[in-house]
Every structure is written in C-alpha cells, then in structure tokens.
C-alpha cells in the first residue's frame, strides 16, 4: 500500500435540513492500489474497478437527466415562440419579447406584490414562532406534557393541503362555520372570509402556522438537546434566571441553524407554494391571491401560452437565485455563516 496524494475533492457538507455547506478540500487518500500508471490510465482503471458504483447512480441519473435537466434545457422556450408542432428546438427565437410582455402587463406588479406580501409575512411569523416554540418546549420540565404537545403539534404536517383548505373553508363559511358562529356570539358581523381579498393573506399565514409550527420547530428542538448542561449549571451559579439562560446559552446554540435556514428561506422568497394558494383562490379574492407561481400555471397550462409562462418562471428563478446569493453574501460578512 502506498500513500498517494490525490487531489480528490472530498467536500465537507454541513446539512441542516435542506441546507448545504459546501467547500472544496484537498485530502490525502489512502488507496490500496497506489501509484502504478500515472495519470489517465490509472483514472480509467479506477473507474473500471468501481463500475458497480456507477450502476448504482444510473436510476437517479436517468431521472435527473430526463425530468430535471430536460425541463432546464426546455427553458430556452422562454426566448422562443414555442409551438408544440415544431418542438423545443425547432421553434423560432424571438429574444426577450416574452419577458417584455410580462413586464408591461398589469399582472407584473400585482403578482409580485402579492407574492412578496405572502412570503414576507410567512418569513417573519413562520420563522420566529418555531424558534420560540422550541425554546419554550425545551424549558418544560414535565415530560409527559412536553411529549403530548410535541406529538400533537407535529400531526398537522401530515395532513394534505387539500384537506387543510377544505377544513378551512368549512370553518369560515359565513352562515354555518364555527369561526363565524364565534364572531356572531361575540357580537360581530359574520365575515365572508373567502370572498374578501383582504382576508386571504391572514388566512394563508395562520393556517400555515397551524400546520407547520411543530414540524418546523423540530430541528431546533433537536439542536437544543445538544446543549452542554454544564453551561447551564455555570450560568445558574452566576445567578442567571431562566430567561437570561435562554438568551445567553440556548439561543447562541441555535444561531447557526437559524442563519442557514434564514438564507435558504430568503432564496425562496418568490417561491410561494402554488398548491395551497391555488386551492384557496376564489373569483373574488384573486386581486390578493394571484401570485407568480399560480400565474405561471394558468398562463402555461390552462391558456397554453407555453413560452410566456416559461419566461415568467425563468424571471422568478433568476430573482430567487440573486436573492439567495445576496443574502448569503450579507450573512457571511456579518455572521461568518454561509451556505458555501
């Protein structure tokens, strides 16, 4: 056996729920074959001995090539006048005309404002509450109660969006829904929540919190279980009360996780999930509920304006990428935490 310095790029990956910490690293690798033939011959040999590993990746690669990179290749129709008869490659190039059309249309401002409204509220509320919830749950000394709260709060995550929106609709029906019964009992006016556009965002955000609060806090709960108990003991001797200990001991532990998730969430700012919004849309709340992704879906698949829809989608993706990179740069300057 020889020790050979191979410039293999083994990467350090810090994965925090969908987040990747990616940095290249040179490594010394112990190989059983050592250096025999230099360069290409050796490389080929290594590939041939590991043929089974490449076979392992085959189903995944087939999927990625067909259903992930195929669509990315297909994005060129954003610059074309796509017609199904001519195919993706055969359609005529028309440059940025589709983008211009989107920027000039009345939907441009409206969909972006609606999308940003939903995502910014979700980001602020949906991001801070799970952290608070995890910190509180962590302080609960009564284990059966803590487990009960955990079990119950995770459960809604497994309910499908269709059911969630269905339940929501039943609950807020003006004449028969329980929410409106409560409003009426308290002496208020019954509200047609689904008919009024101003209620769309609150309903979207609140039902989202109801569904995901517990689930999103799980990562913080897991991180908190790794807090060194001696830190707390030291803090108690120094006379710190619970709130101070949470602030000075527990929160710093969560900080890297929070920052990484924050960066990732900012990168998704324009990616509000269309599934739920689509189900919550009614003819009368469209002024608040038409967001970029539902607009893409309607333009592309219902009105069959494929190129236009692809252009809108591409614009969306580019904005997301720019946001992700910007936020990542800012946080790496401020906090030394970065995705890559």
């Amino acid at each position: 056996m020889y020790i050979s310095q191979v410039a293999s790029q083994s990467e350090l990956c810090y994965i925090v729920t969908g987040s990747i910490h990616f940095c290249g690293k040179r490594a010394f690798v112990l190989t059983s074959t050592g250096i025999r033939g230099a360069g290409r011959k050796k490389l080929l040999r290594r590939i041939l001995t590991d043929w089974q590993l490449y076979l392992f990746m085959l189903p995944g690669l087939a999927y990625y090539i067909c259903l992930e990179y195929g669509p990315i290749y297909g994005l060129q129709i954003a610059f074309k006048n796509y017609s199904p008869a001519k195919g993706i490659w055969g359609s005529k190039w028309i440059g940025l005309a589709q983008f211009e059309r989107f920027f000039r249309s009345a939907y441009f401002g409206a969909t972006i404002v609606n999308t940003l409204r939903l995502s910014i509220i979700s980001l602020f509320v949906g991001f801070s509450l799970p952290v608070l919830f995890a910190l509180m749950l962590n302080e609960m000394r009564c284990k059966p109660f803590r487990d009960l709260v955990k079990t119950v709060s995770y459960a809604p995550h497994f309910i499908s969006v269709v059911v969630i929106v269905g339940v929501l609709r039943l609950f807020v029906t003006p004449s028969t829904g329980i929410i409106n019964h409560i409003i009426a009992a308290l002496g208020g006016e019954r509200i047609a929540f689904f008919q009024e556009s101003r209620w769309f965002a609150p309903m979207y955000v609140i039902s989202g919190i109801w569904q995901e609060l517990g689930w999103n806090s799980m990562i913080y709960i897991a991180a908190l279980s790794s807090v060194d108990p001696t830190l707390h003991e030291a803090a108690i001797i120094d006379g710190a009360n619970k709130v101070q200990r949470i602030w000075h001991v527990n929160l710093p532990v969560l900080r890297p996780t929070i920052v990484v998730l924050l960066i990732l969430n900012c990168g998704q700012l324009l990616n509000v999930g269309y599934e739920k919004v689509l189900l919550m849309q009614t003819d009368t709340n469209l002024t608040a509920s038409e967001i970029i992704s539902t607009y893409v879906y309607k333009a592309g698949l219902i009105n069959a304006e494929f190129s236009f829809s692809a252009a809108v989608n591409l614009f969306n993706s580019i904005v997301n990428c720019v946001l992700l990179i910007t936020v990542n740069t800012i946080t790496s300057k401020l906090d030394d935490t970065s995705l890559w």
Binding site: S10, T17, L75, P84, S153, K242, Y274, G300, A310
Partner: protein, 301 residues
C-alpha cells in the same frame, strides 16, 4: 444574598407558569380543529351548522360515512393512491439510497461532479410548464408510469442518505469487505442496508407521506378519471363542491336546498376523516422516527 435567591426563583416560577399557560393554549389551538372535524363527521349536520355542536358529537350518526361508502370514485381514488404510493415509494427509496451510497464512497471518481449534478436542482429547476412539455414529449402523460417516477429523486434525501452512510458505516468495514472480495453491490445489499434500518424507515415515511398527499402533479398529468388519485377526488368534493347525485339523494327523490347543503357539509367532514384515516392510524407508530430523521439530516459529514 437570600433575597436575591428568592427573587431569582420567583422570576423562574413566573416563567414556568407563563410557559405552562402558553403551551397549553398552543396545544388546544392545534388540537381543537382536529377534534371538531372528527366530531362534526359523526354529528347531525343541523347541529353542526347551527353551532350547537362545538366539541362532542351531537345526535350521533354515520350517515355521512354511509354516503361516501357508496361513492365508488373515492374507493377508486384510494386504490390508485395506494398503488402510486407503494410503487413510487419503492422506486424512490432505491434510487435515493443507491445514489447516496455511491456518493458516500470517497474512491468514486467524479464524486464532486455527481454531487453538483443533484445540488443544482435544489436551487434551480425548469418549472411547471417545461416539465409538463418534457413529459408530454416523452409520451408519458396520463400514464401510471409517470405517477411512479415523477418526483422520484430529491437532492435533499440523497444528501441525507450520503451523510448517513458516511457517518454510520465505518470506512474500515467496507475496506475489510473489499479485501475479502466483496463487491460494492454485495456490500450494499448485505451490509450497508441491514445497518441502516433507521434511515430506511425515515425515508419511507417522508417519501410515502409526500406521495399520499400529492395533488398538484397528478392533477396536471392525469386526464383519465380511472387513474385519478384520492386527493383529486377530495379536491372535487371539498373545494369545488362537486358531488354525485347518488351521494346527495335522501332516498325520497326531491330534496330541498337547505337539506342538500346540510348533506354536502356532512359528506365533506366524513370524507376528510376517511381520507386521513391511514395517516392517523400509522402516525403514533412513526412518531419516534421523526426526530431521528432530523438528526440524520443535521449530522455534519
């Protein structure tokens, strides 16, 4: 000194009390809609609609369940969803595990390239329309096969698998196996998989739940009614309030509008429970795996 200690314990006590109260409120807020829905599905719709029923069933009835039981489309949707979930999850599971296993091997030439290939898709994708066009061009629209393979792989799950294999299966083990003449395939099947039962369970849970609750892609990709999933049927009933005449009939022919609305309401509550039942049954058993799953994902590799 003594006073300081007392003050400190007092502030801690206040904190504990506030904590109890807030967590109890959260518990009630999360639990109440679930209980209400269950109770409403067993109650007389008149009592539900008037607000008389608020926690426990009033005038117990199984009428709603009887009506959906007779509605063939729900069963068809159920069977289709089970089909897509079981086969699709099996496909996904093997794809993800094998890709993750290959990436966990430091000896793999081009490891970085194969990682980047999947990582790119986490941040950038072609979008709904181009994906639809590609699937159409592959002549896979409205087939069962596309329901099995669509969303088959996910970069995040692959990375979780990779991290798991790298951290929990010692390098020495695979070296020893290689020296004994064990091929990669044999090592994967005979040694790596049996050692990663927790990982497999977590993956099955995540993949199967996603597929069970899937509605957007099936809605776009399926045209023929006999292939529809449960969620599509649910959407028709819950969101669009489309119900078949057979479900609505009260056995006497003419039904006044008021009564129709009540029946519709009852069917909706019953169908919500009936469709979530499999999840509700398995949920308590799976619960112990969730945190394990997050821990696997959070391990630094």
């Amino acid at each position: 000194m003594k006073r300081a200690k007392q003050a400190q314990s007092l502030s801690d006590q206040v904190f504990d009390i506030v904590n109890w109260i807030v967590l109890s409120i959260i518990l009630i807020v999360v639990l109440y809609p679930l209980l209400y829905t269950v109770s409403a599905s067993f109650s007389d719709p008149k009592a539900v609609n008037s607000g008389e029923m608020w926690l426990l069933p009033v005038r117990f009835t199984l009428d709603g369940y009887r009506r959906i039981f007779d509605y063939g489309d729900i069963w068809m949707g159920y069977l289709n969803t089970i089909d897509y979930t079981v086969v699709g999850t099996a496909f996904s599971l093997f794809t993800v595990l094998m890709y993750g296993f290959a990436l966990s091997k430091k000896k793999l030439v081009g490891r970085r390239f194969f990682s980047i290939v999947i990582l790119v898709t986490m941040f950038f994708n072609g979008g709904v329309v181009t994906t639809y066009i590609v699937i159409k061009n592959l002549h896979l629209l409205d087939t069962r096969f596309i329901m099995y393979v669509c969303g088959m792989s996910s970069a995040y799950y692959i990375l979780v698998c990779r991290t798991f294999f790298m951290t929990s299966i010692p390098e020495a083990l695979s070296e020893a196996a290689t020296i004994d003449g064990c091929s990669d395939w044999r090592f994967f099947m005979r040694i790596a998989l049996p050692l990663s039962r927790a990982l497999i369970m977590v993956m099955i849970i995540f993949l199967a739940v996603t597929r069970w609750n899937w509605y957007f892609w099936p809605m776009i990709l399926l045209k023929e009614r006999s292939k529809f999933t449960l969620q599509i049927i649910l959407k028709e009933i819950l969101i669009q309030s489309q119900m078949s005449a057979s479900m609505m009939s009260s056995g006497m022919g003419f039904v006044e509008i008021q009564r129709q609305a009540e029946i519709a309401q009852m069917i909706k509550f019953a169908v919500i429970i009936a469709s979530s039942l499999p999840m509700l049954i398995v949920y308590p058993f799976l619960q112990c795996y969730f945190e394990k799953g997050v821990m696997i994902g959070a391990v630094k590799g």
